[in-house]
Amino acid sequence: MHDLWLLMVAAGVATYFWRALGVLLTGRVATDSDIFNWISCVAYAMVAGLIMRIVVMPGGVLASSLLIHRLLACGVALAAYRACRRNLLAGVGTGAVVLIVLNAMREY
């Protein structure tokens, strides 16, 4: 385990790097080339991978809930999001409540 603050500074620099590079390269390079598509693919895949892993095999407090309940919560969140005209807060909030309720019902 590393010093968390050192990690934060490094992560901050590594993130700002892309933003600064974006300012620098603006107007000089086209944004629809292969390298940009690859970068987008990797970024999307990484986030999707992390989120699915947290849903399927979480650590911490989430590990005490059931996989089927987490999957149901995701499904309901998506359905609620669509039903509430793409209201993210409504969708996500509903999903969280579903997980809490399903998880609490296990004990009765």
Binding site: W18, N37, W38, V42, A45, M46, A48, G49
Partner: protein, 237 residues
């Protein structure tokens, strides 16, 4: 009549207070809760949100730190998770450019580039005089950063104070937030392929290596998606 820098900035502030901030609530409240449950300090959760200002990378950082991943793996993964900022900044900057701004202002504004402010400015700025746009964006972005920092603190403190039964829901907010965005807002074949392969690769790579799994899933799943995209699009061309 053109607005002053101050008035343009305040326009951005006003526009952000409302739906844009509400969109961010679940993600950052959840991040605060997740951070609280992971054992990092409140100050770390808040300050890292302001200095990194990119939720996907923050989740990656927290997750890999907990897994005890090597420093280089964490930095590569965080950086690649946030690499979308490169094309985003490059498409936003021409919109903000005006001869009245010194160069450093663009580099300051670049730190505020993130999904919600980017979408809002790409939509609103074309209808605005060029001089006002950067100030508008700064006002908009500042509200997003400050309100999210507050939400992280609130999420952290709530998670700390409530029983585990309820904590589960709060900690699950951030994953749900991204799940809904990713499953509900697929706008291109590139996104669909990358999200799909990433989603499959994530759990599999975790089984292979808990410390490098996130990075492997991103680079592996993303590259496979990219190659398929390239192979199939050249066939149609």
């Amino acid at each position: 009549m053109e607005l002053s820098a101050r008035a343009s900035y305040l326009n951005g502030v006003r526009e952000a207070l409302g739906v844009p901030v509400l969109v961010l609530v679940a993600g950052y409240l959840g991040f605060g809760a997740l951070a609280g449950a992971s054992g990092v300090s409140l100050w770390f959760a808040v300050i890292s949100s302001v200095t990194i200002w990119a939720l996907p990378g923050q989740l990656v950082l927290l997750d890999m730190w907990q897994a005890g991943a090597p420093l280089i793996a964490v930095i590569l993964a965080v950086s690649l998770a946030n690499a979308r900022f490169l094309p985003m900044t490059m498409t936003l900057m021409p919109m903000l450019r005006d001869d009245s701004h010194p160069t450093w202002r663009y580099y300051l504004a670049a730190h505020l580039v993130a999904m919600v402010a980017w979408v809002a400015c790409m939509r609103r700025c074309p209808g605005m005089p060029a001089r006002e746009r950067l100030h508008f964006f700064m006002g908009f972005g500042t509200v997003c950063v400050v309100s999210c920092a507050v939400m992280v603190a609130i999420g952290y403190l709530i998670a700390d104070a409530i029983p585990q039964q309820l904590q589960i829901g709060l900690v699950f907010l951030s994953p749900l937030y991204f799940f809904v965005i990713m499953a509900g807002e697929v706008r291109s074949r590139l996104m669909a392929l990358a999200l799909g392969y990433g989603a499959v690769a994530g759990p599999l790579c975790q089984l292979y290596s808990p410390q490098w799994g996130v990075l492997m899933a991103g680079v592996g799943g993303g590259s496979v998606a990219f190659l398929i995209l390239k192979a199939t699009s050249s066939k149609h061309a």
